[in-house]
């Protein structure tokens, strides 16, 4: 029983990453209608950004949490302005192909210079060590990841669902022409939204840098699972993707305990089941 609690908690930790990443994807899909396959590469760039800030700029983890998402977010906005914006109104397939291509190029460049085994990034001193919870040894850093990503997820949800800015955004997705008629700069809003989604990916990258190696393919390995999360949660649904992210982390954790060999397929089995029963995802609305 104790072991089970531990696995639940560990699952929650992994779920935080799924939630942060699928949230970014959901925001981008919901507002821009683009399936952002470059998300994994941008997540990786966030981690590399943290590494460079530390080793070239001498700026530690806490700075990286703020600066890396901004730098990568700006990179994302440049992408949106120069490439993605031409795809408005076209079939999803074009956006998918373009972003997938971008991901391959970015990962290839990093791999060429840094190899595949990755670079070390230490846990910040303030979050080193751990506490014994009785049923498991919880590294403080992991606890921090869960709490921090929960806060970020809820803040993003609040921003989009409960504020005036979010209302504009949602309106702009429904009917861009009408919203422009009210004097709102829709293209700029879309660019900023893409930047926000990308920033969330980079933030997840910084969070994961001390846990995993900073590797060029760290995002490529994760992104497929995250897409499954988004599909299960319902494409474009903010709350859906947050909840499914955490829930799937827990389910995966339990699988690792009861039948570890299936741990990297369980998410996809679930995806198939959900799609069979409810093709729009758990929280998706029929369109």
């Amino acid at each position: 029983m104790q072991a089970l609690y531990a696995q639940l908690l560990v699952g929650l930790i992994n779920g935080s990453f799924y939630a942060l990443l699928s949230l970014g994807l959901a925001v981008i899909f919901g507002m821009l209608n683009i399936i952002n396959f470059a998300h994994g590469a941008l997540y990786m760039m966030g981690a590399f950004c943290a590494y460079f800030l530390l080793n070239l700029g001498g700026l530690g983890y806490w700075w990286a949490l703020i600066i890396a998402p901004i730098i990568v977010g700006i990179f994302g906005m440049i992408l949106e302005r120069t490439l993605l914006k031409w795809l408005t109104g076209l079939d999803h397939l074009y956006g998918l192909l373009l972003t997938f291509g971008i991901a391959l190029i970015v990962q290839g460049i990093f791999q060429n210079y840094f190899g595949s085994s990755g670079l070390p990034y230490a846990i910040p001193d303030e979050l080193k060590g751990g506490t014994n919870l009785g049923f498991m040894f919880l590294p403080i850093y992991r606890g921090w990841v869960v709490i921090f990503s929960l806060v970020v997820c809820i803040a993003t949800w609040f921003l989009i669902e409960k504020t005036r800015l979010g209302a504009y955004l949602r309106a702009a997705t429904e009917n861009p022409t009408l919203v422009r008629a009210f004097g709102i700069n829709v293209p700029r809003m879309i660019t900023l939204t893409y930047g926000l989604g990308v920033g969330l990916a980079a933030l997840a990258g910084v969070l994961s840098a001390p846990i995993n190696q900073v590797r060029p393919l760290m995002g490529a390995d994760l992104i497929i699972v995250v897409f499954a999360v988004v599909v299960i949660g319902g494409m474009g649904s903010i709350m859906g993707s947050i909840l499914t992210g955490f829930a799937l982390g827990v389910i995966e954790g339990l699988t690792k305990y009861f039948y570890p060999e299936a741990s990297n397929t369980v998410v996809f089995v679930l995806m198939v089941l959900v799609l069979l029963v409810k093709p729009t995802g758990l929280t998706g609305r029929a369109t």
Binding site: V10, Q213, N264
Partner: protein, 407 residues
């Protein structure tokens, strides 16, 4: 009519002679294929570095100056046995590749092993670990250089078991290599009086090990054996530190660790790990000279791993054999038989020999990772703990289950 018949007969003869002449001129043409994981979790320990090592072996062999034409191609098997086997088949059939080198990932290596035997080609394996290549799955066309799971199990496994680590729990990568190393290490640990309490199989290329580490922690085993490699090992080691595995009194045994893994972990995390390798760049003047040349030409300026060294050494021996044969390098089994006849002697592994089952034997070393204070700079990572003599480092011939031996 008769004259036409004679004319055509003459023409045919001329063509046949020309074709035969062409074949004898081709006698000194060799093509090497470096088959590896070029971009995944094993790319740094093999990958582009293996292709570079092969290139250096071609240059250093001096054969091109003696009228030989040697081509080198490289390919990515993506850690998928079917991709590797298809590529090998295409290389041998269409591209006329004579020898395939490196081939890390035991699953892929076993698949390519079958293709190479079926086509009477050659595999000089350096990257894969499974000792099956020179046991049940041995063929007259494969030579296994560098290391295998027996070496690792008997080097690291026995040493730790004798030093008091008598209860073990395995974190095993769920494919051919993981299974082989767990099997061989279990045998070594039990032979040294230890006991295996359990294990858990994780998928290849796992980024989060926390669930598995918790299970290992709960087992209360004194030693946690990492029956995995490359990125899987580095992630497990890094996260084990986070979960307080070693401060809780359990010891990690990295059963297969490469210098690129240590470099990637950093000494702060990797210090104190002990493991078995057969090559370290800073062993003697010859290894240092080779490694320096290698590092200068490597794109990310990393030092050679033992896999790179094995690719280089096995090819040097291959070229030496070709020179001894004087030409016609296309009959795989014949060349391999000659390779087994000649003693091996190269700057990186020293003097050794190739057993009838295809196993190259040479000494192996038990290393420990230095503390940050002991290291003089990047890549100065290992302390030699013990040297395992060549005859103890690999499966003894009388215990090998290779069918070639039962003649």
């Amino acid at each position: 009519m008769k004259t036409r018949f004679i004319a055509s007969l003459l023409l045919t003869t001329a063509l046949t002679v020309a074709a035969a002449g062409h074949a004898s001129a081709d006698d000194k043409v060799v093509k090497i294929g470096s088959l590896s994981d070029q971009s995944g979790l094993y790319a740094d320990l093999g990958g582009p570095g293996s292709t570079l090592a092969a290139q250096m072996a071609i240059e250093d062999s001096g054969l091109t100056g003696k009228g030989w034409k040697i081509d080198l191609i490289s390919g990515d098997h993506q850690n998928k046995p079917d991709v590797g086997a298809n590529l090998a088949r295409q290389w041998i059939d269409v591209d006329k590749v004579d020898a395939i080198v490196d081939v890390p990932n035991s699953g892929v290596a076993l698949a390519v092993n079958n293709v190479v035997k079926e086509k009477n080609s050659i595999m000089l394996n350096s990257g894969a670990g499974t000792s099956d290549l020179t046991n049940a799955q041995c063929t007259p066309n494969t030579i296994h250089w560098t290391y295998d799971t027996y070496t690792l199990a008997h080097g690291t496994g026995s040493a730790l078991a004798k030093a008091g680590g008598d209860t073990w729990f395995f974190l095993t990568a769920d494919y051919a290599f993981g299974a082989a190393i767990e099997r061989d290490t279990t045998a070594a640990v039990e032979a040294a009086g230890g006991k295996v309490l359990g294990g858990v199989k994780h998928p290849l290329n796992t980024s989060d090990f926390s669930s598995f580490l918790l299970q290992a922690q709960a087992s209360k085993a004194k030693v946690i054996g990492l029956a995995n490699a490359g990125g899987d090992s580095t992630n497990a080691i890094k996260q084990a530190a986070e979960f307080g595995i070693s401060s809780g009194g359990q010891k990690l045994a990295a059963l297969l660790l490469f210098i690129t893994d240590v470099h990637s972990l950093g000494l702060n995390t990797a210090q104190g790990l002990s493991f078995t390798e057969t090559f370290y760049w800073d062993t003697n003047d010859q290894t240092r000279a080779f490694s320096k040349r290698f590092q200068e030409r490597m794109k990310n300026h990393s030092m050679p791993t033992m896999v790179h060294a094995g690719v280089y050494a096995s090819l040097l021996h291959y070229f030496k054999t070709l020179e001894a044969l004087g030409g016609n390098p296309h009959d795989g089994a014949k060349v391999v038989a000659k390779m087994k006849e000649l003693p091996t002697d190269d700057p990186l592994f020293g003097k050794g020999s190739i057993e009838p089952n295809g196993r190259t034997i040479h000494p192996a070393y038990l290393f420990e990772v230095k503390k940050p204070a002991e290291s003089k700079g990047p890549w100065d990572y290992y302390k030699l703990v013990a040297t395992i003599p060549a005859n103890e480092a690999f499966t003894p011939l009388d215990k090998s289950t290779c069918p070639l031996l039962k003649k």
